[in-house]
Symmetry: C2
Subunit: 200 residues, 2 copies
DNA sequence: AGCCTCATGTAAGAACCTCTCACATGAGGC
DNA sequence: GCCTCATGTGAGAGGTTCTTACATGAGGCT
């Protein structure tokens, strides 16, 4: 003994989540495999099943980290701006998150993962929505807040998704994504709350 | 001979695509397997590899059908309406497509499929974009058309994606999706092209 | 101190999967 | 009537998920 790893790892769960994130980054959610994660964590192939029900649960655990990171980003948004500025900032920071951590983003919204079987992920999605509502609330008084928040989320999510998937790539140079997010959000907010005709 | 299927299937490629779509609908893109598709088409497990390079190529072929269907929908959109009406119609019909054929939609934008290895899919995405540009062109004269089309696409795609994934489910009843798509598109278009102050 | 429990690890295996190879078949051109 | 070659088959190598019975040793209890 001594030279080898002790029989009990000590923090296998987290080591596995790390390995999962690493793998997802390298190979995408589909390329991820429990066996390879176990290999990288230096344990046997069946060890992960002591900590996660199945493959999807490992991905879900990684997705949770992504949601927390996204929430943290929303926390740093500056308040005290105009509605349009704020909306644009949300859309752009959502997009930036997706582009900086495409793997995390992919896992968070991977169609393969059954959200109903992983309720903690549903909760996280609700928190995203809630966060948006809180941010928009000051600007939207007589408005259906939840719906408006969902609209902005959809807008941001759409840009981010298409950008990550590269669906827009052929039309628009790589650095225009942010402009698209920004301008779309600005147009939307201007439509929601037109600046009154008599300003200044 | 006679009672059994003839040695050569005759239209195996299409039969396999059908089986693929069926399977994707039942189990999602991740649950799809070449073997099961072969089984359903009544051929050996290796037969599909005569027609498709690999698993992803089968999914890509199914996705192509989805894109064509989506295009066909766009063709039925009524012209001669206002900008807002048209934008709303696009967003809503995009959403309806996604909700009616979630499997098709999933496969079309499944993150697992490497679009660069399946250039025909990139082409289809371009055609979606092109279709949107053509539709919006009459309304947007001095505007950056490609960007505006991308914005509307992103908006529609975002609503559709979140709806299919059920991310919004907990906040908004199932039938409100269309309203969200519609109102988001209307707000966006109003922001892009505000109705001039002195209109009757 | 010494024992015992039980969470955490392992090894082996069943049941799938993708993809490749050498070989079989028979439709269609000549 | 022959011959070619696209299309289908069977077997198999190597990968996967997840289960089951068993091993280990950390930490609580006497």
């Amino acid at each position: 003994m001594g030279q080898g790893r002790p029989y009990h790892h000590g923090d296998l769960r987290n080591a596995l989540i790390d390995a999962t994130m690493e793998l997802v980054r390298e190979r995408g959610a589909r390329g991820f495999s429990v066996s390879e994660a176990a290999r990288r964590a230096g344990v046997s192939i069946s060890a992960p099943y002591r900590h996660f029900a199945d493959r999807d649960s490992m991905l879900a655990a990684a997705a949770m980290l992504g949601f927390r990171e996204l929430e943290a980003r929303f926390d740093t948004l500056l308040a005290g701006q105009s509605f349009g500025d704020h909306a644009a900032q949300i859309a752009v920071s959502y997009l930036r998150f997706a582009l900086e951590y495409p793997a995390r983003f992919e896992v968070m919204f991977a169609p393969g993962i059954d959200r109903l079987r992983h309720p903690e992920m549903l909760g996280q999605a609700e928190r995203v929505q809630q966060r948006l509502e809180d941010t928009l609330a000051p600007y939207l008084d007589g408005e259906p807040l939840a719906e408006r928040a969902a609209q902005l989320w959809a807008l941001a999510h759409g840009v981010a998704t298409l950008a990550v998937e590269g669906a827009l790539q052929h039309f628009i140079g790589d650095q225009h994504y942010e402009r698209i997010a920004e301008n779309a959000a600005r147009a939307w907010s201007a439509g929601v709350q037109p600046t009154p005709p008599g300003g200044t």
